[in-house]
Amino acid sequence: MNNSARAIEVRDITKIYRTGAVEVPALRGVSFAIEHGEYVAIMGPSGSGKSTLMNLIGCLDRVTSGSYLLDGVDVSSLDDDALAEIRLKKLGFVFQGFNLLARTDAIRNVALPLFYAGVPSRERNTAALERLAEVGLADRATHKPTELSGGQQQRVAIARALVNNPAVLLADEPTGNLDTQTSDDIMRLFGELNAGGRTIIMVTHNEEVAAHARRVIRLRDGLIVADDRSPSALPVS
């Protein structure tokens, strides 16, 4: 982690999709910065550009114009393999549908990013087991995703997102597939992680979920319409 730089800094970024001759602007000039250790929710109705913004922040896509610095590195014009490297080293993804590998047990799911980073097998397992313990699933290491509940699967996914010690944890509707009780558990875990210094950026359309964050960026029609810091957000439990 580059401590002198901001976690995320986007300046006037746009994203335009071309379908044949038609140009569809998804983002029309967005600028903001996120410091290390922040806990941010990105909100907005469908079509507001929040998924596009998430893909750009997550280095899954490139901006049409503007600049994007992730942990002090300009990633706006990197090629596919360089972006993959950035995703591997600096970002951790948590998806709505968990997206664990079905045939693979929990510990190997968690260790997968380390495999792609070229970490030797023994170290991979040690690190993966540590992360599983952090999310409270050390005793489920050899279970396959089908043998775990939704909440447990999302915990495994969070452990996987953290295993490379990323600069930013990106979560896309992390509680979208979970019941209220389990959602609260996951939100509590996010709170703990943030309290421990993790930078978390979460896309959601659920106000209750967003209320757990300490800052909410609202998008509409490809532009930021509100950026509220709320020190009164729910306290970390």
Partner: protein, 398 residues
């Protein structure tokens, strides 16, 4: 990791995996079997014809001509041919009768061959010795018996040389007992039960009737084709050059050529089956890998989002194809080697009586290399397709 992952995927889809590698199994098996057979057969040709002296050729009336008997060859004709064709060193009639043989009170139905002094000259004898030229010249009442006939006619064993053997109404003195024959279908040692000097045979059984076929020996082997033509010409002259009289000749080279031609055709057919199977197997692998890539689009998206580079996705699917190939090759190898070994041991070695060197390692390498090249050639496109997937679209794939 990649290999373990690939194995898990393949084991999870057992039937699909098995169907996919069937082509590979057949292909690899065929390619190996054909190489084993190919080298086994070239040894077999030598073995089959091992007893067929390359300085001899056979002549018989063409069995398909109108009046077969008009072209018949008699013992007296041979002397005439011998005088007219300079390259011929000897001419021996070959005829066969089935007769009851008796030794003491033991009877056995036997085949009786006419033979010359040098037919068994190089064969080992269990008892006694070979016929002599003077036996032939004097139409001596002597005979040789095969090992099988000896066991039938002398159940109590013992050296039968000098004892009497009755064939039909004739009586012969046993001159020798041949050792059991080597394997080989044209082995001279595998003649009939009883062999008589051809002069004796002519006197006692043919009574001047024509022989089955004539065996000619040549002095200069390189002239054998010309000698065959000259011999046929001489025989036709003896039969007054009648237009409808025809003879067929065959020598070792012709028979070898015939057998080799047969084996070559067989090799070509099985080789083609192998090659076609492997190409079809390659297409099958490509097909199933494309299905696999499509089915796992979302998984690929996740892997990419997590940070897998193109090369790492490529490697995953490449290795999956190679593991598939490896399983197919393994089974195909076992099958091909088993078939090759069985055919070689049970048929070729028995047939030829010789054990030829089989290039097992080379056969295996050729088949595995071919299969691997096919797999890589057809596995490239699906793997590239997986590697080039856009992570956002792949993650959205349902």
């Amino acid at each position: 990791m990649y290999v373990g992952e690939a194995l898990r995927v393949l084991i999870e889809n057992k039937i699909r995996t098995l169907l996919t590698i069937t082509g590979l199994i057949i292909g690899v098996g065929a390619v190996i079997a054909i190489q084993v057979l190919g080298s086994g057969m070239s040894g077999a040709v030598e073995g089959v014809l091992g007893g067929f002296a390359d300085n001899s050729f056979f002549v018989q009336p063409n069995p398909s001509q109108g009046d077969f008997l008009k072209a018949a060859i008699h013992l007296r004709d041979l002397d005439q041919v011998r005088r007219q064709v300079p390259n011929i060193s000897d001419a021996v009639p070959l005829s066969i009768v089935r007769e009851m043989a008796r030794s003491g009170h033991t009877h056995a139905r036997s085949t009786v061959f006419s033979t010359s002094a040098h037919r068994y000259a190089k064969e080992p004898f269990q008892y006694g010795s070979n016929l002599t030229q003077s036996d032939v010249d004097t139409s001596a009442a002597v005979c040789l018996i095969s090992h099988a006939a000896y066991e039938k006619l002398f159940p109590s064993g013992g050296d039968p040389v000098g004892e009497s053997l009755h064939i039909g109404t004739h009586r012969y003195m046993i001159r020798g007992v041949l050792q059991p024959p080597r394997a080989g279908i044209l082995n001279p040692n595998q003649g009939g039960d009883v062999s008589l000097p051809y002069t004796t045979f002519d006197r006692d059984f043919l009574h001047g009737e024509p022989m089955l076929l004539a065996v000619f020996y040549v002095a200069d082997v390189s002239q054998i084709a010309d000698t065959e033509t000259a011999t046929v010409k001489a025989l036709r002259a003896i039969h007054r050059n009648a237009a409808d009289i025809q003879y067929i000749t065959f020598d070792r080279k012709q028979i070898a050529g015939f057998i080799t031609g047969f084996f070559d055709t067989l090799t070509l057919i099985v080789g083609l089956i192998g090659a076609v199977s492997l190409v079809v197997a390659g297409i099958g692998i490509m097909n199933i890998m494309l299905v696999s890539v499509t089915e796992r689009t979302r998984e690929i998206g996740v892997r990419k989002a997590i940070g897998a580079r193109r090369g790492q996705i490529l490697a995953q699917f490449f290795i999956e194809a190679l593991v598939l190939c490896g399983i197919g090759c393994g089974i195909g190898l076992a099958l091909g080697l088993a078939i090759g070994f069985a055919v070689n041991e049970l048929a070729l070695v028995k047939l030829s009586g010789t054990v030829s060197a089989i290039p097992w390692l080379q056969a295996t390498l050729v088949a595995v290399t071919f299969a691997t090249v096919v797999t890589l050639a057809f596995g490239t496109y699906p793997a590239l397709r997986a590697a080039r997937l856009d992570p956002i679209e792949a993650l959205r794939y349902e």
